[in-house]
Symmetry: D2
Subunit: 305 residues, 4 copies
């Protein structure tokens, strides 16, 4: 383990998933590396005085990347297995950002209300539990909030989840699982960031338990097989992630992709897959706060044998 | 147990949740009864020849009710504990109904496509598993797809879920859990039906494993406490159900109701409840096919102590 | 004109479009009658002290009806030509109702904000203009905010627009135009109310220039021709109204219905109608505040010859 | 007029609105130029054999730009007056593209249907009318379907409308009107393309009467005044454009921006502006087919004096 490559973002951060910039590192298929990521606020919120409206600007959710995967070409699929996520500090922060969140007027759902109060919640991480005050005690259940590859054409904000992955904020991009991502440009140009120490479904106020982290990821390449949207495989489940607005479009994408997956790789006639998912599919809300909502459809592998 | 009251729908079925009709039975708070329900098609689909387009008309999803709860008055809450659900037959049916379902054009999402093919899936229930052909084997996990009380003013189709409960199609209205429903008219006028032998999240094609059933329910009354939307309590969790379109409105309702519940009954300041649910809330899609989508927000009780 | 029938709501108002209640009047096809309607608040807001949160309850938007149309049977279409609307008083009122409107959190779009301020706007109607203070001067452009027939099965709140018509709040249900409504129960059971002295597209705050009125309507019957959603014909245009959430579903319904209309009655192949509406269709937002949003699709008749 | 600058896209087209590329031309505030634009298909559809599924790829909706505006800095507003649009050819084309349009399953609203038929409609432009066959005759009413400035950070597909303008497909970006666009990067980096010979509200099938064109535009700069979303001024009206999904979010944005405009520049208290727009606002659907829907809110200037 002494010789694992440690990838840190040199110089400035990436705030977009973009096909254009120079890679910060290169990996080979089959290689395992450790990736260091800053928290979603770039570490600018550390005290009660650091109100979001004061310390945050347009540049949010810094990513480590792009990482160039040797041999990856458009039409391939990148398989990234998350082996571990370790916190790089012993605390996390969540905040209420004005006009951002699931139960507030936002830039997209524009209303005439004043913003909800800003408020900061610092949590201490001790013995695997995040604690804030007497009532809030949240177990360490880390995942990578943002993970994806470069789009073909656009440079997409690191705040946006879409068919390239990105800011999906779904709890299954976690240790033990493999994330499948489309390769749309040479080298795939992988990015990740926004590690969460824990998060409920929906990331309700818009900000999870934000941490800086060191994550160990193994990169593999599936040549000549394209996917349209991100997929996740856990030891027990197959999952697909749809990101769209309104939320029902995210749900439709996730389940339609899972229908296609079962049809292509598991021998189900397409309408039979539709029937199976009707009776045994699972679907949770990953985020209900980002520029697209992300929903996760899943099926237990026991149904596929 | 010999003397439990057995409630069957006499005469014709109820196809609306309505404040107007005569009750079919009366129960006392504290009483446990057995309620018999027909399947959502009123038993009209039993052979491969019974295509939905031929045998189904406007009258769908028959309910057993209304059941008058003695002493229930507007402003109270009805607590219905589902003690058991037993199948009344050894088979279930699911079908693809033209222009109905989660991955098809519908009456609400009107497009120019021809309908998807009609198709019937009959399942045999044996040893706790529903089987259809070689590939489909779904465990017995029953719940009541439709359960609710009369609205104050409207007569609402039994196909619609809303703040009176109704056709929510959420898997947690199941044995072992208590469903809290608003009382909006004298006697509450409780209805239930649409028992499902099993169902995946979202009820993707619109039709679960439809069965006729005998369900044992205990009725309790919480006097002088009103709720705006249905709630569910399991041994481990508190849950709220929001039903609306677009789906994000259902999600907002469910989580906003859970914020209010934690604030009212569990000593959380409202914004702290918002924070807690951000980090530890759960949210799954109950249905993505009915006239309103139903989403379920939940929190493990361990966070509330 | 001395002998035109004047229809007033005897006794209590209708707050639902319902197939059940006793008609308040009967009309013959071909007959012209005058219908008197109260304002949407039943006249309870007349002074600055009449805050909505104080004087309004659950019973809103009173309708005059049901009116039984002799000979109308399910499967027919009712054609109602609005010949005139006269104000029954020389003032109108608009108000900001807590948690109701287009730019506020609502009961459906549930957020954690406090409500916007309540505020009352009384307008004086003089010389065809509604005036409030120095800056607000709105011309008299009356229409019937709510107009429809009974649904087949449900009793639908007078606040809801759907395929029976109802609370569409679209400015083309105005003098000179004919409104086509589906007949779903014997006698059609026509209702109308909610006259607006004027209203912008969307009815943005949720409350137009609410007036009591006397409207002269001519009733005709088209036997054996069913329509699925309300239609409107002006001297120059054909229009269809879709009411749904999210708003794009209302838009889809309205245009899909217009495609069907052009195909059925104007000799267009269905995809050619789709093409024509792409290049020449019109679509405005009727309401963006009610329980369903109503959008109006239209086509100038000059394209149909 | 002999010396007006003619701007043509040299080399390859722009398919994104991007802050990064080299400008193709530079203009001064106050300058009037003529901009040549290709049709949305880059001229690849000219015969019945040119089915979209065959001749179109990922690169769509080519833009002429970026055009650097001297002196424009972030925080300014660019005012572009469209003086004229002339067709560069005597025909237009519209097509049904698989899984694209307002009444079909799409990449965003994913369903299991087969695509609608592909079909091409070529129109001849003669005497100010586009004609196709016997039934389709559409008057010349040109506008620029796509017009905008570079976003601050992202490179946004030329198919997407958002707060930078872009592919709004609203009929009021037409001769005689001034389009106000936010300046987010030095030089504004203006792009335009996608000229439409005519289009109905919503651009229902997704493809208007696509033409190549020469448009004369005058550029002005409003220093030190920022806007968040595009605005349009006609001789009679003030308008704002909101682009989002679901459609109600586009409607909210458009009207909220108009409230802010009336408050900032026309002396209305904010809630009074909300009231005025309730009674006199206008709102039509620009597009219901693009990656965001665009709605236009408007107010007649006569209300503002």
């Amino acid at each position: 383990m002494a010789d694992i490559t440690e990838i840190r973002q040199p110089g400035s951060y990436s705030y977009v998933f973009s096909p254009y910039p120079e890679p910060v590192a290169t990996v080979d298929p089959g290689q395992t590396v450790a990736i260091h990521t800053e928290d979603a606020f770039e570490g600018r919120i550390t005290t009660e005085q650091d109100l979001p409206s004061k310390v945050l600007g347009s540049y949010l959710n810094p990513q480590t990347g792009p990482i160039y995967v040797n041999g990856a070409e458009p039409g391939d699929t990148l398989a990234v297995t998350i082996e571990s996520i370790e916190p790089a500090r012993d605390w996390a922060v969540s905040v209420f950002v004005p006009y951002f969140g699931g139960l507030t007027a936002t830039q997209a759902t524009r209303l005439l209300h004043d913003p909800l109060p800003e408020r900061l919640y610092f949590y201490e991480l001790r013995d695997g539990v995040f604690r804030h005050g007497d009532r809030l005690a949240i177990p360490w259940r880390p995942f990578l909030g943002t993970i994806g590859t470069a789009p073909q054409l656009e440079a997409v904000s690191a705040l946006t989840p879409h068919n390239h992955g990105g800011n999906m904020d779904v709890r299954d991009t976690c240790p033990g699982n493999t994330v499948y991502l489309p390769v749309r440009v040479p080298g795939a140009l992988f990015y990740t960031g926004d590690a969460h120490g824990s998060q409920g479904d929906g990331e309700l106020c818009g900000v999870a338990l934000e941490i800086s982290a060191r994550s160990v990821l193994k990169f593999d390449l599936i040549k000549g097989q394209a996917i349209d949207w991100p997929r996740i495989e856990s030891p027990k489940k197959l999952m697909t992630v749809g990101s769209a607005r309104p939320m029902e479009d995210a749900a439709r994408i996730a389940y339609a992709e899972l229908v296609d997956w079962l049809a292509a790789d598991h021998g189900f006639e397409r309408l039979d897959a539709y029937q199976l998912l009707t009776q045994a599919g699972e679907m949770y809300v990953g985020n209900m706060v980002d520029t697209n909502y992300s929903l996760v459809a899943g099926i237990d592998k026991s149904y596929l044998s």
